[in-house]
Amino acid sequence: MLHRISAAAAIAILLSLPYGSTNASELRVGFTLDALTLDPANHRNRQTETILRNIYDGLLTRDAKMKVVPELAESWTQVDPLTYDFRIRQGVKFHDGSAMTADDIVFTFERLTKDGAMGGQTSPRKDLVGPVESITKVDDNTVRFKLKEPWPILPAMLPVQEVVSKAFTEKVGSQGLATQTNGNGPFKLVEWRKGDAIILERFEDYYGGSPDIAPVGKACVDRVIFRIIPENASRVAALLAGEADIIAELPPYDMKKVEANANTKVMKVNGTRSFFVALNNAKKPFDDPRVRRAANMAVNKALIIDKILLGTAVPLNGVLSPDAFGFNPDLPEYAFDVEAGKALLAEAGYPNGLDVTLDTEGAYKDMAEAVAAMLTKVGIRTKVAVGEGSTIRAKWAPAGEKKGDMYFNSWGNGSLDPADIFVPTLRTGDRGNTAFYSNKEVDALLDAANVELDQTKRADLYKKAQVLVNKDAPWIFLWLPQDIYGVSKRVTGWEPSADSRINLHDACVK
């Protein structure tokens, strides 16, 4: 009996020992997925990018308003449509104390753009720097990018390319760079516990980050820990239990719970993925713009956003996020109006309505069914067909048979630049043009914007194109989901950003 009591006592003592040391300046992020690699050039993964973003800096970055600003570069100039010059900031140090030079930048981009430059492998990020033909050192302070064709999106794509140390990479090799780092960002790697946590600490010799983003200086917290908790309910529990200070991808149905907790709050920001229903513009019945407009009038977006997405999305009247470059805020809205929709259908020659099929992937079934029910009320009797992602994508390939009716679809726009979403989805025959939409005027505007050096003029071209697309209604314009974060009230100075990257340089903890 006695030893049973002592065993129970031992367990009780064990359980009462503190399991977590609470350090005042330790910030813990509850994250969905571990980094796949720590080599900035060897992945195509958003979670990896977010973690690397705190270890490495890029030539350019974005401020909270998504404006592209210099980071490791001091400034940049576009010499002509095919040439960009970047002035390199002086006094930037890598985590091992060595100085960053123009050679490191040339090396980084050669690794990204040359075939087999990563120990025989070719960077999977190669086409994220698109038509970059060469990068050369002009002098110690300047590097020059030469393009094969005009690509005004280059500055917008540079924030996601981190600069590595030439000497370090040559020392450890591309294999070594997968697990070791010598960054130039606000935090340096302490330990990577694979699948569990990535532990970072403040880099004391940090140059301070982009001068355009206040405050400039060292990071605020001593330590940052990315803790990998893939399961939603557990991640929320970690926040509520005080084990995590910021959690990514808070499920909408848990927002109330987080708000109800005295120590936590919900923070939202517009995401980068536009949702729409691509209508087959190439065949009946959606070859008629009146039918397409009727479909737009049938869908009560506000209701779906409110009831299914629990208010975590913004309605769209066009292709672009409100945070994107060149967004046109003055596009007319297709107001929800069943009667007007019916009238328009009758005018188009369908007084008794019509029957169509809406293709969707399993994940979007709920939303697609809601859309279908609304369309049916107007007389566009819609059947939802759930299919497997790649099968549907094959069916809707722009070069394919063009046999479908409607496709519940989305397109991500990480750069928040129209060149990355508007062109591929709506230019005649382009790779993501699942609506098979073709308007010569729109094509001309997009092509002109592609070589326009003056950013104001370029934005105007996109604004005009948005008006045309809005009128043509090749899609049912749906919404842009927001990114939702659960945040402890002990965190200050941090804002979620619309490019989904969690930047912890300015975050402090009370």
Partner: protein
């Protein structure tokens, strides 16, 4: 056991493992969805890049050739490059394996600690309240979805009572240089009792969630075996000799009644590996199970193939061990 029988039994493993590898390979091939497209889904790639990547992965080669390469490499422990991590599959799996082994061993130990005494007591006090409660508890344990149960435990012990952590293996404050890579053992070996309790506190909830269904099965097995043994002649004989009841029960009866429990436990340990996938996901446990789940979602062929092959080998080996244990514990049984 005779060496020849052992050899024969070992040779049986070969066709089983070959069959498993064929099934794994074919199933991955038949799954709809192009791995390259899924990998690049985040940032819509150009067709040219898709082609390059497909070539890099060898996906443009005929299936039979790919299978041959896969099999040949597997024999030498080379499972190729994990598409996603862009590192050797072997390394990626090796990093995650210790966490899974630690969790599995803890769950195995825990379920034996629960099941053996409970089964014995239920058998001795057949049809009593304790026996009935054990029966109901077993049914409960078998039918509870581990996923749901794990979340309930988290909400109770981590969110409300705040006595156990939600997820992970050990806190940052503990840095224990690896010896066995099992954190509880390593922290003891390194003389860090604080880290031991830290690692143990992380281990308790997932291990318990994983152990529960197994404990439920084993309790039933233990109870039945014990009842059977208690009915046998030698127990009656021992009682007649005047040995104390306690000695009879725990020395003579239990020793024989453990045979089925141990063999079932060995086999069930194989299925623990499957349960790991769920439990590791819920508790953010950095093990192989979670890695496999993530890899299935992104069609990371080489990794899934290697991991499933590993599971199959483990399962087959555990069955093998169970058979041997059976013959050792019960000499009347021959292979």
């Amino acid at each position: 056991m005779k060496p020849l029988a052992l050899l024969g039994r070992t040779l049986q493993l070969v066709p089983v493992l070959l069959g498993v590898s064929v099934i794994v390979f074919v199933m991955m091939m038949l799954t709809p969805g192009d791995p390259v497209e899924i990998m690049l889904a985040d940032q819509q790639a150009t067709p040219q890049q898709v082609e390059t990547m497909r070539h890099d992965m060898g996906l443009d080669r005929p299936a039979l050739e790919r299978f041959g390469v896969f099999l040949g490499n597997a024999l030498t422990g080379n499972f190729g490059l994990s598409f996603f991590h862009r590192r050797p599959v072997f390394d990626v799996i090796a990093e995650r394996l210790p966490a899974t082994i630690e969790l599995t061993l803890a769950a195995l130990l825990l379920s034996l600690i629960i099941a053996i005494p409970l089964g014995v007591i239920a058998a001795i006090k057949k049809n009593s309240l304790i026996d009935r409660m054990a029966a109901v508890g077993s049914l409960f344990g078998i039918s509870l979805p581990g996923f749901w149960f794990g979340i309930i435990l988290i909400i109770l012990f981590a969110v409300h009572l705040k006595i156990l952590p939600v997820a992970g293996r050990m806190d940052f404050a503990c840095e224990v240089p690896p010896i066995t890579y099992l954190l509880t053992i390593d922290s003891l070996l390194r003389g860090r009792p604080d880290c031991f309790s830290n690692a143990l506190s992380h281990l308790i909830l997932p291990a318990f969630t994983l152990a529960l269904p197994m404990a439920a099965v084993l309790t039933r097995v233990q109870r039945t075996a014990m009842i059977e043994v208690l009915r046998s002649d030698y127990i009656t004989f021992a009682e007649a000799k005047g040995l104390s009841r306690r000695r009879i029960l725990w020395r003579h009866a239990l020793k024989n009644a453990l045979v089925p429990t141990v063999t079932v436990a060995a086999i069930e340990t194989g299925s623990l590996l499957g349960g790991n996938m769920v439990v590791e996901t819920v508790f953010g446990w950095p093990g192989l199970g979670r890695l496999v789940v993530e890899s299935i979602f992104v069609r990371n062929y080489p990794l899934v193939q290697a991991a499933v092959l590993f599971y199959a080998v483990t399962y087959v080996l555990l069955n093998f061990v169970a058979d041997i244990l059976y013959t050792v514990l019960n000499p009347r049984v021959k292979l």
